[in-house]
Amino acid sequence: MKKTGVGMCLVLHPTGRKGGGDPSQAIIQLKPDGSLFLKVGAVDLGQGALTMLRQVAAEAMDVDIATVYASNRSDDLAPLSAGSAASRVTLVDPHAVMEAAKDLRAKIAAFAAHRLEIDVENVELADGKAFAKDNPHHHMTFADIGMIANLGEGVILVGTGAWQPAPVQGHDPETGYLDQESVISFGCCVAEVAVDTDTGEVEVTKLVQVWEVGKAINPLMVKQQINGGLQIGMGFALRENLFPHYPDPAHGIESLADYSMPTFMDYPPELIHGIEEVPHPMGVKGAKGFSEGSATAPGPAIISAIHDAVGVWIHEVPATPEVVLRALDAKEHGGATDYWSHQDRSAWLA
């Protein structure tokens, strides 16, 4: 028999490396035709680091994004980034790009002041041009500047930037105190499930996941991250375990056929995402990272929905069909409404 239920949860995800020491760098160069070359160190794992940072650079330089070429290839002249980990890139790397843009804008302004024969304070940069504030017609395009600087006057116009949230800190061993801010994103998930009480299979029929991300620099990619986290999150909550008989090391999992990560068939037919923005004081335009968290949020909502459906709290994940059936069995035969399979292992009970 299929029984349906609904569950919700609220989770957090800390963004940036705990304990600080989390630097990133960026370089922006003005090319002879006025186009810009953005070089960053953030690895693109699929999360879209390069796409996002290119958007930040184009806005910070106030140019058409089509004129910005960007690379994150960690080749010889590559700025450093502490890594694409800890949901840190969206919090940290945009600052490095903003700093590099500020540096380059100052250099372009100084060069334009000299060519336009005006005070540098009178130079404004907007829409790919440098002009006199008191006479906007008196201007040079970035293409003019790039050409004259690089090929006419033999000047290289490069902006560099670096940023980190905090220097390295450790916890106080007695209290855990850490002298550092934690930038936190918040996720709320509502899941609807159908539990097959004969097979123990749990089908997620609808899932709503919302993340408060400070500022969504690219809402399409934020959507991808929210919906995408469900893949690992649902696997964690319902299916994947390399050691199904933990702590027994026997596993028998050698291929993806044995390791049943969610497929198209497992994704809920109704999948709804939501983005909420409460700008964080530390982020560029308030942006903070969150993408790891979208794997966290589905699990507790799904497990709570199972409880709503069949009246048992599953205390272990993944809640595989075997676990669900055993939990239903324990409830039927002993009236237990909480289930943890290791209860009979005395060694596990300190």
Binding site: M8, G46, T51, P173, F186, G187, D248, P300, H315
Partner: protein, 439 residues
Amino acid sequence: MNQYIGKAMPRYDAQGQVTGKVRYVDDIKVPGMKCVKVLRSPVHKGEIRGLDFSRALKVPGVVGFVTAQDIPGKNAYGRFQDMPVLAPENRVRYRGEPIAAVVAADEDTALEALSQVRLDIEEQTPVFDMFEAMQPDAPLVRHDSKSNLWVHYPPDITEVTMVKGQMDEGMNQADQVIEGRYSTGVQDHAPMETNVSVAYRDEMGRLVIHTVSQTIYAHLGMLCAILAMPMSRIRFIGGRVGGAFGGKNDIHTDHIAALAVLKFGHPVKYRLSREEDLQFTTKRGAFVLDFKTGVKNDGRLTACRIDIWHDTGAYAGMSPYGLEKCAMFAPGPYDFPHIKVTARTIFTNRPISSSMRGFSVINGQIASEIHMNRVAEALGMDPWELRFTNAWRDGDQGVTGYKVRGAGALEAMKKAAELAGIKLPDKLMSMSSRGRQAS
């Protein structure tokens, strides 16, 4: 004004992806490139008594073997510098641990050569259960350590403690105390791209390594130490990865590919098969978490006590860092006046646990949130209301002392309820993360 922040745009490389033009490390081919494969421990714990390559070296197409003796620098890497590149001092601590690497003309030849290696290994008693591993008489996973517990604070503190307020006092103020024990399994990242490296010498004699690393600069530093080479002699090229999810935060292939080039000079590719990647790379490790929550009948939380055990496998990977993160955030986004968390990292003879999407925070959160819904049930309160009442507002304080800024839990919940078609009472909908007015 050119505005792009906040604009939904297709990926910069989307066209390259849909036309098959994006080049990943496994797509790189270098003339004369040989194949690297690794001999892995067949036992969970043991000491190597003999390693005879003579028959394997006779297989046509075999170039040679790399062992721990060929490492010019440190045979250790990782955030805590405790993972060996190749079995050190002839000891293995988990099934699948790399012992030696073969360089051969192609994969078939490499696998044939590995099957011809005579490995004499003395199997020793392993320990798999982290609670057994904590017993005083448990077999040591690391023969050179005092116990199977990781030392979080040298010289000898193995337990992570995080405290806010007076936990006992908070429990005394509670009308109800709800307890629960939770456990989480072992998960693999399983990115579609398995770990792979291509390495060779360039025209300047520099070592070039094409990597799938997530944390390039940390790994470059580790490679310099392993290879005893300055950064100027290594060109470490990455940036394009076919999925990682934390699994490429630790080096899996770059170091061994590099050693093969240093020893034999041929360009090489070292690519893990799916079987290897699934079974023997770093994992999301298992956790057991005990929760005890004090709450007033009106739903106000008074205290929480959390106890955490984490199985890191045979080496630390990044687990100690993750455990601290787990401890720090396991109470969840709630304003508990009193908190005490204790946690420890335990070695077992299992593949290494390290970072994975949601690194350890996910383990604390799934336990905490199932528990919070049990608290709501015990109170007979709607789970939404319990959360609206207690969720962080600006200025609330976490267990390690940080003040919350830019809080957005309530805003996320309101939107989720709306999208899910759940009508929340006006009392809740009128609340905001900007402050905690009486409800």
